[in-house]
């Protein structure tokens, strides 16, 4: 059990939770920034078209 109580292990836990908090923060912020908007998926249809569609791009 002593293996799990070194300061460095606590540091690893600390880093983990720090990054987790950062990830959650930016995830929540992305909603506020309109990251998940209605047009955000357009690009995946456009990439299918570019070769077939003669002329008019999206």
């Amino acid at each position: 059990m002593a293996d799990y109580t070194y300061p460095s292990i606590y540091f690893a836990y600390f880093l983990f939770f720090l990054f987790l908090a950062g990830a959650l923060y930016f995830f929540l912020r992305s909603f506020r920034d309109g990251y998940w908007g209605a047009t955000s998926e357009d690009v995946k249809y456009q990439m299918l078209k570019d070769e077939e569609a003669e002329g008019h791009g999206s």
């Binding site: 540091f11 690893a12 998940w36 955000s40 690009v43 570019d50 008019h56 791009g57 999206s58």
Partner: protein, 470 residues
């Protein structure tokens, strides 16, 4: 793919004014040379697999001893075949995703020429034993510098294209390609130059940061860029979710670089660093599973397409192998599992599934998809393409599965010190025999792939002489 209509040769018909005509010269150079290297280095792969079964084979010729052919096999497959094919395919899809011509075809061709010079230089230096002694970074310093120059030229071309793109929103394949170029620059410098100024464990740490990220931040992002482009294209199905692919991208960008020290678990390196690398290795499941879920969800309801569509067959098999290999990786980093499988033959099984099963399958699919379009023709033979798939697939599974089982078995034997080491070697001989014969099947797949591509190009007609410059 079958529905693809014949497009007349680009030069004669500029149908739409703002639809760019892709000449794809740089892509041709990279792709044609890489498929030839795939075959040639495949021969070397067979020789070293045979050496496990017949250790005396070519044993008295220094140039063909195992210790010199193995780095040639690894470097040849990674840089001569896979990275060159990836670069060729990047030159194919980046202009198409950007809706503009490639920034400079001439620069691209120059990059390809330099790249071929590097590969030939690598063959000579490795056979002569001019080996720096770092895994994946064996090449002499001159060639390392040339690789950096080639990579900068490649990066200028890709970023030049991206900066002049017509579509503002960037498709995920562009993200991965650009990420690959940026990260590779740093990873490569660390592994090939920073190591020269350090010694011992510090050097090993830098070396393994490079070794791990050569796969994780070079071949993974560019391989996924191919999969994200060619799966929707080959099946003509829109991607399930572009946003989900972003999550995979950013988590890959953040997590992957931390894990280098997991190559030294239980070894002479600080325990806390091992623990950090283990924690981050487990977090790799996040980018992997988001990516794999995205591909499976894309294919939902479209799986019958894989029956007749060879590129899609390679791509989706590659996705399955990617899922498996990226499950193995994190599990292998756990101390208890690592104590069994580390340093055993499980390792080549795992490494081959990543580089051959996943990323080479993606690249093969990309070549099968793009070569007929680049040369404005049809694939020479779909039947032959199916053969190449099944040979590579059956050989691959035989290879991977026997080495995992053999590796576990070997690891358990090693952990019983009552068994003399030589007995654990003798016990593995049947495993190595199966590995060799699986290798023969894989090589058959490579040979039919090469023949099919060459035949396609030669039968393409108008400009046949461009086909065989490699």
């Amino acid at each position: 793919m079958a529905a693809e209509k014949e497009i007349p040769s680009g030069a004669s018909s500029a149908t739409a004014s703002h639809r760019p005509v892709h000449s794809d010269t740089a892509a041709k150079w990279f792709l044609m040379s890489s498929v030839v290297y795939f075959f040639v280095v495949g021969v070397i792969a067979l020789i070293i697999a045979a050496k496990f079964v017949w250790p005396e084979l070519l044993g008295t010729i220094p140039m063909f001893s195992y210790g010199r052919l193995r780095p040639l096999h690894v470097n040849g497959m990674l840089f001569g075949w896979l990275l060159a094919a990836d670069m060729g395919l990047v030159f194919y899809f980046v202009p198409r995703l950007c809706g503009v011509k490639l920034y400079s075809e001439k620069l691209g061709v120059a990059t390809a020429v330099l790249w071929n010079a590097i590969v030939l230089g690598a063959v000579v230096s490795l056979l002569m034993g001019w080996n720096q002694g770092f895994e994946y970074a064996e090449l002499p310093l001159v060639l390392d510098v040339a690789v950096v120059v080639a990579w900068i030229l490649f990066g200028v071309n890709v970023f030049g294209t991206v900066f002049t793109r017509r579509y503002p929103q960037m498709y995920v394949s562009l993200w991965y390609t650009m990420g690959c170029i940026l990260w590779t620059a740093f990873v490569y410098l660390t592994g090939n130059f920073a190591t020269l100024f350090t010694t011992g464990v510090n050097q090993a740490n830098l070396n393994w940061m490079y070794v791990h990220n050569a796969v994780g931040l070079i071949f993974t992002p560019v391989g996924l860029a191919l999969a994200y482009y060619f799966i929707p294209k080959a099946g003509n199905i829109p991607l399930y979710s572009h946003k989900l692919s972003m999550i995979g991208f950013w988590s890959l960008a953040f997590f992957y670089v931390w894990t280098g020290a997991h190559h030294m678990i239980h070894g002479p390196i600080s325990q806390w660093l091992q623990t950090i690398s283990i924690a981050f290795s487990l977090m790799l499941l996040l980018p992997v599973w988001t990516v794999v879920y995205n591909f499976f969800a894309t294919m939902k309801g479209h799986w019958p397409l894989t029956r007749d569509n060879v590129p899609l067959k390679f791509l989706m098999s590659g996705v399955v192998f990617y899922l498996l290999t990226c499950f193995q990786g994190p599990m292998h980093s756990l101390r208890s599992v690592n104590a069994i499988v580390s340093k055993t033959d499980w390792i080549p099984g795992h490494a081959h599934m990543a580089v051959l099963g996943a990323f080479s399958f993606f690249a093969i699919a990309g070549v099968y998809y793009s070569i007929p379009r680049i040369f404005h023709t049809k694939l020479y033979s779909d039947a032959l393409a199916n053969w190449s798939y099944w040979l590579a697939m059956i050989g691959g599974i035989g290879f991977f599965v026997t080495l995992w089982l053999g590796g576990f078995w070997q690891g358990w034997q090693w952990n019983n010190p009552a068994i003399p080491f030589i007995d654990t070697v003798v016990a593995l001989k049947p495993i190595w025999a199966v590995r060799f014969f699986s290798g023969v099947l894989i090589f058959g797949g490579i040979a039919t792939f090469l023949y099919n591509i060459l035949a396609t190009v030669i039968h393409a007609g108008p400009r046949p002489q461009e086909a065989v410059h490699a």
